[in-house]
């Protein structure tokens, strides 16, 4: 059963306030979720006043600025800063996205930054994605071909290749899965949009020879049918993909195929 309230040790408390020291007139308040695993304390929200005159356009730039100039203890994942690696996925202004591609101008009022929702927090903005990776492994995301000739090229028509568009671009940032209420309540059993989009990607791949087995494997009340088309996933995807549609396509295949 879904637990709506946060557990006792996860209740967010008010944290420190970092006043601006630059004397800038163009300030914005940034509220960041903080949790330090080395203490027994509850998570807290620290507030930073950030000088926007000397800050580039993305949320990640704000975080870097805070880390470099105000508080070096702020912890978050980042790498490419170009929306390719998926490291800096977090919840900004109430919506999941990549900090490196989300302009802070799009967020009204104070900028609230939280880790991806409903994850075990490792530190500050870093959530534990182990469960999701295990689920990803469970769909066996690699080409399965029974043919003996592993040295020969497997030909794919342009039409068949086009079926992978909108699925192969996924960078597994987990923005979609952690935005999904169904995944919040049943994340241990429901595969979630990210993994189901990948399941779909292998089901429709013309070179894969285990389509039937793959379909059978996801055809499960909890694994697949917990999707109730809330569409938080599609609206969160920073790559503009549509996991909800992919899930609907899998359901459609299962409804029409005789397996």
């Amino acid at each position: 059963m879904a637990q709506i309230n946060l557990p006792e040790n996860s209740q967010v408390k008010k944290g420190k306030y970092f006043k601006d020291k630059t004397g800038s007139k163009n300030l914005r308040k940034v509220n960041i979720y903080r949790w330090d695993p080395s203490t027994e304390e509850n998570p807290r929200i620290d507030t930073y006043e950030v000088d926007m005159n000397n800050c580039p356009s993305k949320v990640l730039d704000i975080l870097n600025k805070i880390k470099n100039e105000i508080d070096p203890t702020v912890t978050y994942r980042r790498s490419c800063a170009h929306g390719v690696c998926g490291s800096c996925a977090m919840n900004m202004g109430g919506k999941n996205g990549l900090a490196c591609t989300t302009p802070h101008e799009e967020i009204d009022g104070d900028i609230d930054i939280y880790p991806l929702p409903h994850l075990k927090v490792k530190k500050d903005l870093i959530g534990d994605l182990d469960g999701l990776y295990k689920q990803y492994q469970s769909i066996e995301p690699w080409l399965k071909s029974k043919s003996d000739s592993t040295t020969k090229e497997i030909i794919q028509s342009k039409e068949d290749r086009a079926k992978l568009d909108g699925a192969y671009e996924c960078i597994m940032c987990a923005c979609c899965s952690t935005s999904c209420p169904s995944y919040w309540w049943n994340g241990d059993k429901y595969l979630g949009p990210a993994v189901l989009l990948q399941a779909y990607r292998w089901i429709v791949d013309s070179r894969d020879e285990e389509r039937q087995a793959r379909l059978k494997k996801v055809a499960d009340e909890l694994k697949l049918y917990r999707c109730h088309t809330i569409l938080n996933c599609t609206s969160a995807c920073p790559k503009g993909l549509n996991p909800a549609k992919a899930i609907a396509e899998i359901k459609k295949m299962l409804a029409t195929a005789n397996i």
């Binding site: 695993p37 991806l116 935005s179 938080n232 459609k252």
Partner: protein, 127 residues
Amino acid sequence: MENKSPLSPHIQIYRWHISSLVSISHRITGIINIVVITLICLWASLLLLGESKYEEINLLLNSLVGKFIILSITWSFSFQLLSEIRHLIMDLGYGFELKTTKITGLIVIIGSIILTVVFYLIGKNFI
């Protein structure tokens, strides 16, 4: 160490949008409708106990509170009807583009209010 980790905030902080609102309302109205249908059946069964019991409920339903309840029920049914049609279209694999979901969601919300008024007027004037 592992158990000490807090759970990051979820429904407390996630912003609502039209599709998520329609989805949760669909569930809530679904539950309300089941309860209401049961009550309507019970109301009909009251006929067996004779006119006086039936009159009592009739009086209640014609009061201000009763009218509010009837309007709410009508809305709940209208919403469920339109939202279910939206879900059926989605089950066929259509209408998943963000813009389309927004539009169909708005149609469901606004349409349910219009349908409520229409149903109420039909019920009041013709039945």
